[in-house]
Symmetry: C2
Subunit: 286 residues, 2 copies
């Protein structure tokens, strides 16, 4: 594989940013990696873990002249940082974001004179853990990466983005930002809320936590796994995808109410029919 | 370990019944195991897989004189079979059920003259798969088993039940049937409905299934895992636990609506606060 960049800056040294740094460092030890994080403990930890070579601040010249700059902060910070950063970077640099929302971020720089130096991406990978210690080499491998508005990128931007995602072994999918946000509302954001609220409902009723622990099977654990996710990361995602997500929630709540109606009237056949339909998710997942 | 029984009958040769048969057969090859299943394919398959020694029907003398009879059918069938079976078994036999509801089943035989020959149990173990092929040796190992109304059992019933659950390496917890059903509504039944309805919501909106497959991450997969569960098994569980489950659903829907309200008004701080509270599920699960 050709080495497309000599220097890399990563904003946000958590699970995503840390894992990108780790792969680049492992495969191309010569590439200089700068780390930027507003949390000094995260930055220090990332340095200790050898994910990055140096801690920098967002205005340092080494950062602004990096060949590739990855934004892996929460999406509210991406939206804040991106326009200013794009204005300040050298004409040779490329900025790539990894946020879980795309429409709001893309709109922010729609008319920016350096729009072609920006690549809007969403690598679909993650765990319920966060911070630099959560980073690992195989996080992205074999997963999908969504790129939006790729037609607005310069050739150099396209090449560097493709280089990065090939390096971490992801398959790229291309779509417009609105489609991305609509689909992700259903297959990701909604399931996070369903999980968070399930956790909350059970915690509220079960004051004696020992009982939950004793009685919860692996099914419950699987369903509430996402309730362990980071609020700082997810609240801004929900906010930026408010419209699609609220519509998805409307539909989810309606489904629950319709099922509850069948339950109350003990309409076992209709309950079974709804569950059989839901079983079709097998085909999609397997 | 002392061999407490010489013959065993298993009603329902699926994941649960099949796994009990498998453990008994592996550890005590001399114990004769009879299998009863209304689905002839399941019975044949269980015989082929060596889970059982002989296929029997529910009225066969070998079944009615078995030292231990395990009921591992859907809970509606348990409720139907149990009173009649209890009337017909020999005075030496013990019947044990493994249903995911306990109150309705216990009430059915509350005043039965042979109540002391029945043990109401709920081994908390399972996967989203079903049928005899889903059975495996370690299904129960290290998990919890709930026994209700143990005080109504004869000494012999108690000994045989304890023998079985020690054999499969489960820890017994004792509680009344109403408490069981209430707790399980929250930590098991509700999460199944939340998962079934999430699957349904996403399937309804995403007509092009390819899109879901491409965009769904491991988080979605984890949250909808239970939507693959068997409707024939779960619909009767929901029905028998209607009151507690409907209350749990009320609370879950209310939580979702309250979160949606914060989302619509972009009250990010309150969204974060709710999610932070939900994060406490970590402590319970880990």
């Amino acid at each position: 594989m050709i080495q497309r960049v000599n220097s890399l800056s990563v904003f946000g040294l958590g699970l995503i940013g840390g894992s990108f740094a780790l792969v680049v460092k492992t495969q191309f030890p010569d590439i200089k990696i700068y780390g930027v994080d507003q949390n000094p403990d995260h930055a220090k930890k990332a340095l200790e873990l050898n994910l990055i070579d140096e801690i920098k601040s967002s205005n340092d010249i080494e950062v602004l002249e990096s060949d590739l700059i990855i934004l892996a902060t929460p999406v509210n910070a991406i939206k804040e940082i991106l326009p200013q950063l794009l204005s300040n970077i050298s004409s040779n640099s490329v900025v790539l974001d990894t946020g879980s929302t795309k429409s709001s971020i893309c709109k922010t720089v729609k008319n920016h004179p350096k729009r072609s130096q920006f690549v809007a991406a969403h690598p679909i990978a993650g765990t319920e853990y966060s911070g630099p210690e959560a980073a690992f080499l195989k996080l992205f491998s074999g997963k999908k990466n969504i790129i939006c508005e790729f037609e607005l990128c310069s050739d150099q931007s396209k090449k560097r983005a493709k280089w990065l995602f090939e390096l971490v072994n992801m398959d790229n999918i291309y779509m417009d930002a609105e489609s991305h946000d609509k689909h992700l509302a259903y297959v990701s954001h909604l399931s996070h809320i369903s999980s968070f609220m399930l956790g909350l409902t059970v915690l509220n009723i079960e004051n004696d936590e020992k009982n939950i622990f004793n009685l919860a099977g692996s099914g419950f654990e699987s369903t509430v796994r996402l309730a362990k996710s980071s609020p700082d990361m997810w609240a801004p995602i929900f906010q930026q995808n408010k419209s699609y997500l609220s519509k998805a929630l409307d539909e989810y709540i309606l489904q629950l109410q319709q099922f509850q109606e069948q339950l109350k009237t003990e309409n076992v056949e209709e309950m079974k029919a709804l569950m059989q339909k839901a079983n079709e998710i097998r085909k999609v997942l397997e």
